[in-house]
Structures are given as C-alpha cells and as structure tokens.
Symmetry: C2
DNA sequence: ACTTATAAGCAGGCTTGCTTGTTTGTATTA
DNA sequence: TAATACAAACAAGCAAGCCTGCTTATAAGT
C-alpha cells in the first residue's frame, strides 16, 4: 500500500546535508530576530530561540556552538533583511514630481518598522558587549553608506550635485533615527515626525550655493 | 589618645534611620546607573549592583525587595539627574547674541553625554518589559515637555511666538536624539551632527510667517 | 550496483554556575 | 523594648554549554 517505488510524499523527502543545515539555520535566525523583537536582547536566551524555531537544542548547538556565534549570525541576518527591504522598496519608487517626499517616506518606513527595533536591540547591546560591537559595526557602516548612496541616487543628479547635499542627507537620517527612537515606547501614535516639514527644509538647504553659512 | 569622650571619629557616628536608608539607597541607585552604563540592561543583576555599591545583598533587598523595585527606582533617579543637569546648565547660559546656537549646544551636550546612554538602556528595555515601560513613560513625557518648554524659554519671546516654533523644536530634538544614537557605537568621533547647520535651518524655519508650506 | 564505513545533522538529558528572593540572625536607632 | 537597618547563609530556578546516542546523507570499497 504505502510502498511506492519513489518515497516522495509520505517520507520526509530526501534533502541534501547543505539543505538541511540551511533550513535549520534559517529557522533559528528567524526565531532569534522574533525573540529580539518581542523580548529584547536581555530576553534572548538560546533556549527560547530553539523553542521558537521548533528546533532541538542539539541542532541549535550544532549550528551555532555558542550564544555568541548565534548572535553574530543574527546580526548578519537582520542587517541583510533590512538592507534588502530598503532596496526592494526603492525599486518600486515612481519617478514622480515630489520625489523628495517620496524618498523620505520610503526611508521613514524602513526606519520606523519592526526591523529597526530589532536592529536597535543589537545596536544598543553592542555598546557594552565587545564581541557584538565588532559584529555590528561593519553592518552599521555599510548600512549608513548604502542608505546615503541610495538617497544620492534617488535625489537625482541635479540635487545630488548641490554643495550641501551630503549634509542634508545626514541630517535627514539623523532626524529619522531620532523620530524612530521616539516611537520605541509608543508605537501607537503614527507620526511624530513631520516629513513634509523635513522635506521642505531639505529643499531650502539644497537651494543654497555657498557651502557654509553662519547662523544668525 | 584616641579615646575622646565623644565617639565622633573612630566610631561610625550616630545617624538617624532615615539618613541610613537614604545613604544606602543613594549608593545603590548610583551603582545601578553605573552598571547600566557599563554593562547595559542585560548585564544589570542585583548582585553586581550590590557589589558595586559596596552594600550587602541584605541591605539591598531591604531597601528594594525585588529587582523590579530597584529598576523602577533607578529610572526615577536617572531621570531626575538628567533633568537636573539640563536645568543647571541652562542657568549658566549667557544671554549673548547667538543664543540659538548656544541653546542647541547645551541640549546637545545633555543628549550626547553618559546620562543619555544610561537612559537609553532603560528606554529600550522598557519597550519589551511592561513594568519598566510603565515606569519610563511618565518620565519620558515630562522630560520631553520640560525640554520643550525650556527651549521655548531659551529661544526668547520673539522666536517663541513664531507660528512654527514648536515644530522646529521637535525637529531639533529628534535630530539630536538621532545624532546621539549614531554615537552609541562610536563614542570616539566627536561631531557627526552639524549644530551650525541645524541652527541655520531653524532660523530659516522661524522666519516663515505662514504656518504650513508645501514641498517643491 | 550494492554494501559498508565515515561523517554530518539531530535529539534530549545532564552539569555547572549564576540570579533571584527567602529566611534567620545581629546591630543600630527610636 | 520595639522597630528599623543590615548581614549572610540558603533554596529554587534557569541559562549555557557538554555529552551520549540516534538518524540521515555522502563517500569508499567491492
């Protein structure tokens, strides 16, 4: 009855070792990100991650021998997801008229979403944990640079050529990070950050020709 | 020689009970803040705090029966220190010409100092810990409002009366928080945030008369 | 092609150390 | 003398990592 020549359905199906490893690694890392989002870094225990992933502690420890290794891998995973999400959304950006506002809305959605919170946990924890810090730093750099170059690109050649474009971009990113931070304790309120105002200021700043101005 | 009729020096000296309690509470809370700054919230254990404070675990547990109580008290302590530091610095602010820049420098020094990092740990931890969140929220509100009213006051009556002053202040605070966040992983680099540029933008924004403007 | 040997992935129990909170006893103040 | 502040030993729980044994896949040998 159940003896078909090819054990295609009722058996767990034959997978190569690499596939098996990749599968459990993916489940573990996804679970780690979920736990991080739900319970924060102080609530991240290897046991909970294994439970959440539906993976035995043995498997967990086989793939990631120490908690440190797991966390480092989680940093990589979260950073990749974040960057990828940003890039995907950037692809769907129409070349409309109010491009700046759209660009800022895009960046804001990336910075105020759950991935920001997950990354924030690792970010803050990396301040005091040297190993974690070393793992987070390169991704932080690459993320900032990637976002910056993406914004340069999306601003378009005219605006990108303005003398203070880079300062404007950094200001926008700082402001958004700060606005996102203000949402950490109150996810319910939708918009403390006025994107129109910010965009307006950027426009004015980019209208300048002289590279520096003294404050009144 | 050492037998004076009043046991003033070689004996621990007579203190009232309230003084004793206050002394150990102060030491414990100060130690908690230090541990928080050094090791983050995930490294905050009652044992370490007691060791750091030079206080027995018995004394610790007498004043703060649970870790929860200790953390809540630490939130209060850190928030008070922060607000007080801000107010003290505000008092020494000269009524010079480039007042805005000075105000922003002041706010920036308060937001980029160690107290910000300590508060950030509690802030981020409060996202996932309900009790901590309830403890942090009121202080967050009062801090934001206090800082805002302080800035209104320090901006002076002319600027404070401008239609978009509140938006400008919120933008400044968001930007500074974001800039401070960028320093978390790299305390070495001094100024990613261009205070002159920010001040310049605020000046322009406050020059507006119409309450709203559409972006180009 | 089939069997067998070796390795890789996996499951779960176990140990050690740490953290928290209780309890019991002592010193200091009222 | 009663209450408050403090000290320290103790117990329960948990987290991290280790270990033994089992299943599945790959390689070698015939």
């Amino acid at each position: 009855m159940t003896s078909s020549p090819l054990p295609s359905q009722d058996r767990p199906a034959r997978r190569t070792q690499a596939e098996r490893s990749a599968a459990t690694q993916a489940r573990v890392l996804e679970a780690a990100a979920e736990v991080l989002l739900e319970s924060g870094y102080s609530g991240l225990t290897t046991t909970r991650v294994a439970q959440r992933a539906g993976v035995s502690r043995g498997a967990q420890l086989h793939q990631y021998p120490t908690k440190e290794a797991l966390v480092v891998a989680a940093v990589d995973h979260v950073a990749r997801c974040w960057g990828e999400a940003l890039r995907v959304q950037a692809g769907t950006l129409p070349a409309g008229d109010d491009r700046l506002l759209r660009v800022h809305e895009l960046l804001w959605s990336a910075l105020s979403g759950p991935l920001f919170l997950t990354a924030l946990e690792l970010w803050v924890a990396g301040r005091t944990d040297p190993v974690l810090r070393e793992a987070v730093l390169p991704f932080e750099r690459s993320f900032v640079r990637g976002a910056r170059s993406l914004m340069f690109e999306m601003y378009g050649p005219e605006l990108a050529a303005r003398p203070r474009c880079r300062e404007a971009i950094d200001l926008v990113m700082h402001t958004m990070r700060g606005g996102a931070l203000a949402l950490v304790l109150r996810p319910e309120r939708p918009a403390l950050l006025d994107l129109r105002l910010l965009t307006d200021l950027v426009v004015r700043l980019l209208e300048d020709e002289q590279p520096a101005a003294q404050s009144a």
